[in-house]
Amino acid sequence: MLPRFWRKIKYRYRLVGSYCENCGEYYHPPRNLCPKCRRKGSIKEVPLGSEGTILSYTVVHDAPDDFKLQKPYVVGLVKLDCGAVVTAQICCKPEEVEIGKRVRAVFRKYSEEGEDGIIYYGTKFELI
């Protein structure tokens, strides 16, 4: 899984996505082709900004081994102010999370692979 992770590390660490100069839409995760404009689109890499609003959330209780130390954890869909939506963990207590709350992106650890394995980092959000 490692090469697959490193390849996209820029987009995971810094919340960089795609912008279509033809239709003005922002995308996360990054795309090479605009789904609205396809061949007519013109995709450019841009920072997506760091603040947004919670569209939906869940508190995960039954998690795979990679995430077991963090259980229970909050996963949400965050709509950034540019319009792109990000699936990410939200660093807060389960009882604090609500649809509509404002959040800000932060750089955090996601998971560890095995005993002495690699540590995966990425973007999470915290309540503002």
């Binding site: 697959r4 992770f5 996209k8 995971r12 995308y27 996360h28 995760p29 789904p35 569209l55 939906s56 959330y57 869940t58 508190v59 995960v60 209780h61 039954d62 998690a63 795979p64 081994d65 990679d66 995430f67 963090q70 954890y73 996963v75 949400g76 869909l77 792109a84 939506v85 990000v86 699936t87 990410a88 963990q89 389960p94 649809i99 996601y110 998971s111 995966y120 990425g122 999470k124």
Partner: protein, 382 residues
């Protein structure tokens, strides 16, 4: 396109079939289908087999050839194609077999679906199921398949006032229906309290809102109208099988409280079958999580948007209601043998229509892949 009928159905029991191998259950279902169609096998011209993850569950690929081999059809040299669309693999295999016969390419074809999941542990099974969503951008952050359905459920609850009790009712109904199905995994009734008291997997989804991941196989034999009339007095005709796609991950979708692919596939299916949603008498639906059945009522047009919970609350989808849903027990109580499920739904729909299990002429099956990035809608008439 010419008329196509289902002339034979077969199914293994669904569940934890420790004593049986992948090839055992496929052959069990296949032989039952041949007996049901009263043919010996040399009439079959092609095999389409739905299988989600033989590679990860069994470290076995080349599933098409394996099945041709053990069904004795490699002897005839006929083509065998494995179809993968996560847990819509079976539905898509059925569609491919249907199109091949409808187009006139073959007179008789098999649609099979099979999955053997209990050779790996529960932990890995959940990991594999989560491969049906976006591995790199959903699972990476801990968004398992139940978590993604929970995100959908939460939006539906917020927008339309759907409650955890409403979702529980779906599970209660499907368990009740499964009591009468000898092939079902869970043939026992449960109460709303049982569901509500079961532990959360990903809030608001609980253990008893979720279908199990099961072993199982199902086989359907399709034939042209001309052949079907020679074989049986009770063919069940296929009026339409349609398939639609949506974005793989939830974050790319505009409306989280409905499945766009279901709406599109249903619209096309009704048009092809020359019917409307109100003409459907009975349906098998993809209740991998109970919220999915409630949303499907709406997206299939059985009620207005936002009224899915009302439909289950008022008993409209119970046996004896306006449109019975998951008379078989659904994925929740029959078991969810991922790649087999779409074909199992057709087996049950044929059984329901042909054997008069409920009074119905027109039946619909809805099979979903992952969080709905693939939807297959089939309409059958007796």
């Amino acid at each position: 396109m010419r008329r196509v009928a289902v002339v034979g159905i077969g199914q293994s029991r669904f569940g934890e079939l420790w004593e049986k191998s992948f090839r055992d259950i496929v052959i069990e279902a296949g032989v039952e289908a041949l007996e049901d169609a009263n043919i010996s096998g040399e009439e079959i011209e092609a095999i389409y087999v739905g299988n989600m993850s033989g590679g990860r569950y069994l470290a076995q690929e080349h599933i098409g050839a394996l099945i041709a081999d053990y069904s004795g059809l490699a002897e005839l040299g006929i083509p065998s194609v494995r179809v993968e669309a996560a847990d819509a693999s079976g539905g898509v295999a059925f569609r491919e077999a249907y199109l091949a016969v409808a187009s006139g390419l073959y007179d008789v074809a098999i649609a099979a679906g099979a999955e053997k999941v209990t050779d790996v542990g529960a932990e890995l099974a959940i990991d594999i199921m989560s491969s049906s969503a976006d591995r790199e951008w959903e699972y990476f952050v801990g968004a398992t398949l139940p978590a993604l359905y929970a995100l959908i459920a939460r939006v539906h609850m917020k927008e339309f006032g759907t409650k955890e009790e409403d979702m529980a009712l779906v599970s209660v109904k499907n368990h009740k229906n499964a009591v009468k199905n000898p092939k079902a995994q869970f043939r026992r009734e449960i109460s709303v309290d049982d569901v509500l008291r079961s532990p959360y997997i990903a809030e608001p989804i609980k253990v008893l809102d979720s279908a199990p991941i099961s072993d199982g196989a199902a086989v359907v034999i399709l034939a042209s109208d001309e052949i079907a009339k020679k074989l049986t007095d009770t063919p069940v005709y296929v009026s339409a099988v349609t398939q639609a796609s949506d974005y793989l991950s939830l974050q790319s979708r505009k409306d989280l409280a409905s499945f766009k692919a279901v709406k599109m596939a249903a619209k096309k299916a009704y048009k092809l079958a020359k019917i409307e949603a109100k003409d459907v008498d009975v349906a098998e639906m993809h209740d991998s999580f109970t919220i999915a059945e409630i949303i499907a009522y709406e997206d299939l047009g059985f009620c207005e948007k936002g009224e899915g919970a009302k439909m289950i609350r008022e008993g409209e989808t119970e046996v004896g209601g306006r449109i019975p849903v998951n008379v078989s027990g659904g994925l929740k109580a029959c078991g969810h043998a991922t790649g087999a499920t779409g074909v199992r739904q057709i087996v049950d729909l044929v059984r329901i229509l042909r054997d008069g299990i409920v009074d119905a002429e027109t039946g619909l099956a809805l099979n979903l892949g992952g969080t709905g990035a693939t939807a297959v809608v089939s309409i059958l008439r007796r």
